[in-house]
């Protein structure tokens, strides 16, 4: 009976065992089999993903250098401070870390605390781009807190990063461009050559535990980062500086509303030596508006309007007018019309053109006036250009004809991009007539087109076309990057000049150069003349049709394009002011003096030898030597030998100071003040008002006030007067100080329609 009882329990026990083994262990084993052998690979990959820390090692972005190796943009090591709040265990630790970091990074402790409280997070960026001194302090802090509590060590992470520096801030800003927060190029060369500059980021793959520390396995793979290549520009920092300096001054002097452009180009190979767009912006701070008016405008707005307007204003600020803007070239285009007509032989140098003050190009059309309402009378071809006579050019255009005009417009490259290596290049536009094929013109189109109205060009197209005239007729492709250099300094790529096509013959080009040189010395472009240098140039003033800021007065564009030396052209220079709002707005009044100012600095810098006329010789500046430490007698003799006039102050025996300093430019026969005692160096004189005088009068004043004058502009002309001086009148300066006085001609030369 007991057996019977027990056998029941035994049976059920075996049954229970069977259930546990088959149902229980069976399902467990099949589940493990599935997870480990079927889904194993997938799960293991997920686990590895989690365990591997794949750290990207940023590659250092390459530098941007000018043609002489000066750094215009470079990257430097910075660090990013990151919190991993998940490792915090209590609020006390959070507070300690927040306070510590706040002190080091100059931040608000409460802000960091907020990040530290995101306790699920592994990654909260505290501050980006901290420099090495701050990094050092953070490292010390990490060491300190991890001594107190080892786990706190993993809370703060310093990640390596690079920051882009632009040492010259707004220098060549629209050319160089800037980078975004991830280091990618957003505009200019930074954008265009991004793939060269970026480099290849490296990786460090290692196994980390759940707290981000390395696991005790030998498991780390490194792939070195390849730093980006550097880009060597054709830009010459010095020339660029000349361009920007003069443009900035011009914008102030002529109250220019819409900015200014200057492009300096090597006419023989297309290298852009300088390309300035003013007003510029700070590359280190590209999102800050530089224009005070724009800032004020934005202040008044709010909400989405403000955001939208801000992005518009920023886009305008970043816009590289030199390649993106198209404008009516005005009279500068007469160079093209003239070149085409000469090349085609439709007009001869011996032709004469009569200007009565206006001209009716075609019957039934209203007469188009010349800027000289009295008329230029009878003129030769060359005189017509020098007079910038619109009726004469309407005639020349008519001689050339529609087809040829359109053909040369294309040939000079105005309706296509020059292909310069910058993003956002625009193109000029020929006359547009809906429903008619490209290149078709109406009778008046040819008339106004021949003096540069009704068609648009971009500044870079204009300077490239004029370069073709200068270099003997070849249209070349302008470019900004000379070389690509790797991180070790090896040249990776060198840009070869590209000649696109021969547009005009060498002979035509020589003839045009002569006419343009004549124009720059005697004609309407003479304000662009630089003493001692053979400048060829053409002014232009064009109306921005339909745009007006003052009632009744249209907005203008004043430009000047030319090259030097006229007999052996090397550089072309375009200066372009968009909407001067002062009293002066003609190309000859606004752009020409700036052109002259720039050329006067570039030519000596490039070592172009000056050839002075006899008249000019007396105004030519030479370099002062050092007369310091010399006996006063010797010094005086040496000053005389150098062609200057010595002027001794004090009663000492030895020269202890001199003005002008050694190396500065003084006009021949200028005064060198030699100081012999300390007291004597404290003497000052007041700068006189030197504006509005003839060259001779300024000369007299300088003697009277004991200052030195550098004569800038076309000083060998009788009709020129000073219009500006480099040091304001009333300033107290040392005797012998050099003041540059700018001379020019106030005649109204050219305008259109």
């Amino acid at each position: 009976m007991g057996d019977k009882v027990l056998s029941g329990i035994r049976k059920r026990s075996w049954a229970l065992l069977f259930i546990i083994m088959i149902l229980g262990f069976g399902s467990v084993i099949s589940r493990l089999f599935y997870l480990q052998l079927v889904q194993g690979k997938e799960l293991s990959d997920l686990a590895v993903d989690q365990q591997m820390s794949d750290i990207t090692v940023s590659a250092k972005r390459g530098s941007i250098l000018d043609r002489n190796g000066n750094t215009l943009a470079s990257s430097a090591n910075v660090w990013k401070v990151v919190l991993a709040p998940i490792y915090f265990e209590n609020d006390k630790d959070r507070q300690t870390v927040s306070d510590g970091l706040a002190t080091i990074l100059g931040m608000n402790s409460a802000d960091i605390m907020e990040l530290a409280k995101k306790s699920d997070s592994y990654y909260q960026t505290v501050k980006r781009q901290i420099e090495s001194d701050e990094r050092g302090k953070v490292l010390e802090f990490i060491e300190k807190i991890s001594k107190e509590n080892p786990k706190l060590g993993s809370v703060i992470v310093l990640e390596e990063d690079y920051k882009r520096y632009y040492p010259y801030n707004d220098f060549a800003a629209s050319v160089i461009g800037f980078t975004g927060s991830d280091g990618q190029g957003l505009s200019g060369i930074e954008y265009q050559y991004d793939s060269y500059l970026t480099g290849v980021p490296g990786r460090v793959v290692s196994e980390n535990d759940g707290w981000g520390a390395a696991m005790p396995f030998e498991y780390e793979q490194k792939q070195e980062a390849h730093d980006g290549n550097s880009v060597v520009l054709t830009i010459d920092e010095t020339i660029q500086h000349f361009l920007e300096k003069h443009l900035k001054q011009g914008i102030i002097d002529y109250q220019v509303a819409e900015g200014a452009v200057a492009i300096c180009m090597d006419v023989n190979n297309g290298e852009v030596l300088g390309m300035a767009t003013e007003n510029s912006f700070d590359l280190n701070n590209p999102y800050e508006l530089t224009d005070e008016n724009a800032k004020a405008e934005l202040e008044k707005l709010s909400g989405t309007n403000k955001e939208q307007r801000e992005s518009e204003l920023l886009a305008k600020q970043w816009r590289n007018k030199a390649i993106s803007d198209s404008y009516y070239p005005g009279s500068v285009f007469k160079v093209i019309t003239a070149s085409s007509a000469l090349e085609e032989g439709t007009s001869k140098l011996s032709n004469t053109y009569f200007c009565s003050g206006s001209y009716v190009p075609y019957e039934g059309v209203q007469a188009i006036a010349c800027h000289n309402h009295d008329g230029h009378g009878s003129q030769t071809f060359a005189e017509a250009l020098c007079n910038s006579c619109n009726p004469a050019f309407m005639m020349i255009g008519k001689e050339l004809g529609y087809e040829k005009f359109w053909e040369y417009f294309q040939s000079f490259g105005f309706n296509s991009q020059t292909g310069i290596d910058l993003p956002g290049e625009g193109t000029g536009l020929f006359f547009q007539h809906e429903g008619e094929p490209e290149g078709s013109m109406w009778p008046t189109d040819l008339a106004i087109g021949s003096f540069g109205q009704g068609i648009t060009v971009t500044p870079i197209e204009m300077v490239t076309a004029v370069s073709a005239v200068a270099n003997g007729g070849s249209l070349i492709k302008p470019y900004l990057v000379k070389q690509i250099v790797d991180a070790d300094g090896n040249v990776v790529e060198t840009t070869e000049p590209t000649v696109k096509r021969q547009i005009i013959s060498n002979e035509t080009a020589r003839e045009m150069a002569e006419i343009m040189e004549k124009n720059a010395t005697e004609g309407t472009a003479k304000n662009g003349y630089v003493a001692g240098y053979r400048i060829a140039g053409k002014t232009g003033t064009s109306e921005k049709i339909g745009q007006s800021r003052k009632p009744g007065v249209e907005d203008y564009i004043a430009s000047y394009c030319g090259f030097a030396p006229a007999d052996d052209p090397q550089i072309a220079l375009l200066v372009y002011f968009d909407t001067p709002t002062g009293d002066a707005y003609y190309g000859s009044q606004v752009a020409a003096p700036v052109f002259a100012g720039i050329m006067a600095e570039i030519c000596p810098y490039l070592g172009i030898e000056a050839q002075y006329t006899e008249d000019e010789m007396k105004y030519v500046s030479t370099t002062a030597d050092s007369y310091l430490s010399l006996n006063i007698g010797e010094a005086q003799q040496k000053v005389r030998d150098d062609g200057f006039e010595p002027f001794v102050t004090g009663d000492g025996d030895e020269v202890i100071a001199q003005i002008p300093d050694a190396g500065s430019q003084i006009p021949r026969g200028g005064r060198v003040v030699l100081y012999t005692t300390t007291d004597s160096t404290k003497e000052t004189i007041t700068v006189p008002d030197l504006v509005g005088y003839s060259v001779a009068e300024v000369n007299e004043l300088s003697a009277e006030y004991n200052i030195n004058i550098i004569y800038s502009g076309s000083v060998d002309q009788d009709s020129v007067y000073s219009y500006s001086q480099s040091i304001e009148s009333g300033m107290l300066v040392a005797p012998g100080t050099v003041v540059t006085v700018y001379f020019g001609n106030n005649d109204v030369d050219d305008t259109v329609m």
Binding site: G2, I9, Q36
Partner: protein, 417 residues
């Protein structure tokens, strides 16, 4: 005959020592009641018999050693980071194991028939402990499961599980012939489940309810309760869960049910956090593949899988030893359970069989439930793996229970001899 035996056993409850039950008498084939007093004279505290089952002892030691090794491997990174010593857990666990082994051997000498009279006090005591634990930890949001006794904390549900098995074995062996009736067969079990569940619910300790419920059910099944009642119980259990769900009392358990089965397909940050442990358990298991990463080579134990020394220790076993290792360890468990049950069905009386099989079934049950949890087939509710998971009270209780089974093996062997 049965009546006499039960009478005798009733006597045992009253403090009368009973060396052997009627089984021996039956075996002696005489059916002569007069022999019983003679047996009564052979008063024994210890029961050596013909010696304990060496195979079983060996299996326990093997499982214990493997468990210690794996727990050490799984725990040392966590120990290093949170306790500043890699050996923190293993030192304590090894200490518990030694104490446990000593207790096991000691218990194996204690004649299991003595437990008859302790069945009721132990049960009452376990319930009282649970009642103490709840207010002692009141005010904390955490579950109140631990009785803090200075250096060692006791998880009272471990005692409760044993108390339930003991009482059920005791009761069923007393009223074995009335097990078919509702009053004797079902009612006590029901009361046990309800009272225990209520106390565990107060803690709350839902996985405890599940395990305790299953244990009582297993014991009732062994005792021969009609299957009809199990069907009713299943329906009733479903109703209770529904009621709890409706009253919102299931929040804590529900929070653990959140993300159940979705460890790899979490959809948001909350889910990601909820399923973190289970997901990393799956990563660990999957990483093991067929052969594993090698002993000590787990990567998931480095702060990825939280508390790898506790419930999820087997995930690390799977990662380090692979499917092969995990399978072998499961087989050792299976052999242990089989051997234990084999011993116990040979016990000379109902009480021994019921008690022993119940104890072995509990181990099998926990192994299965634990692995189903770590493989995301059951919600993550806190069921430890016998001999592997870190925990002193659990390990000592387990070894003591193994001691009881060994004592049963002695008597079984005696029976054989």
């Amino acid at each position: 005959m049965f009546e006499k035996i039960t009478d005798k056993l009733k006597g045992a409850l009253d403090g009368v020592l009973t060396p052997n039950d009627g089984g021996t008498a039956v075996k002696q084939g005489s059916g002569n009641m007069a022999k019983l007093p003679r047996h009564r004279k052979k008063f024994r505290i210890v029961s050596v018999g013909n010696g304990l089952d060496m195979t079983f002892l060996l299996l326990v030691v093997v499982v214990l050693v493997i468990g210690l090794v794996m727990m050490f491997s799984a725990s040392f990174p966590t120990a290093y980071f949170s306790k500043d010593s890699s050996y923190y857990f293993i030192k304590r666990q090894a200490g518990f194991a030694v104490v446990g082994l000593i207790i096991m051997i000691a218990v194996s000498f204690v004649d299991y028939h003595h437990y008859h009279k302790y069945a009721v006090p132990v049960l009452i005591g376990a319930w009282l402990l649970m009642l103490i634990v709840i207010p002692a930890n009141w005010g904390s949001d955490d579950p109140k499961r631990w009785l803090n006794l200075g250096p060692i904390s006791i998880q009272v549900s471990e005692i409760c599980k044993f108390a339930l098995i003991l009482f059920m074995a005791h009761w069923s062996s007393l009223y074995y012939d009335k097990m078919q009736t509702f009053k004797y067969g079902v009612l006590p079990g029901l009361v046990l489940i309800l009272v225990t569940s209520f106390l565990l619910y107060l803690e709350p300790h839902y996985s405890g309810i599940v395990i305790c419920g299953l244990i009582v059910a297993i014991m009732m099944f062994l005792a021969g309760v009609r299957i009809f009642y199990f069907v009713l119980a299943a329906i009733g259990g479903g109703l209770i869960v529904s009621v709890m769900a409706v009253t919102g009392k299931l929040t804590y358990a529900m929070s653990r049910l959140d993300g159940w089965g979705q460890a790899l397909t979490y959809t948001d940050v909350d889910m990601w956090n909820t399923t973190w442990q289970t997901r990393n358990s799956l990563y660990a298991i999957g990483s093991g593949g067929l052969w594993g990463l090698g002993l000590g080579q787990s990567r998931q134990k480095y702060m990825y899988l939280p508390e790898p020394q506790n419930d999820f220790v087997y995930a690390i076993v799977c990662e380090e030893l692979g499917f092969i290792g995990a399978f072998i360890i499961l087989m050792i468990f299976a052999v242990l359970v089989c051997r234990g049950i084999k011993i116990c069905v040979k016990a000379s009386d109902k009480f021994g069989t019921l008690l022993g099989v119940g104890l072995m079934a509990q181990i099998g049950l926990q192994v299965v439930l634990n692995i189903l949890v770590i493989t995301d087939w059951l919600p993550n509710t806190g069921i430890s793996l016998p001999f592997f998971s870190y925990g002193g009270s659990s390990l000592i209780m387990l070894l003591a229970q193994m001691g009881i089974v060994m004592n049963i093996s002695r008597s079984a062997a005696l029976e054989k001899g």
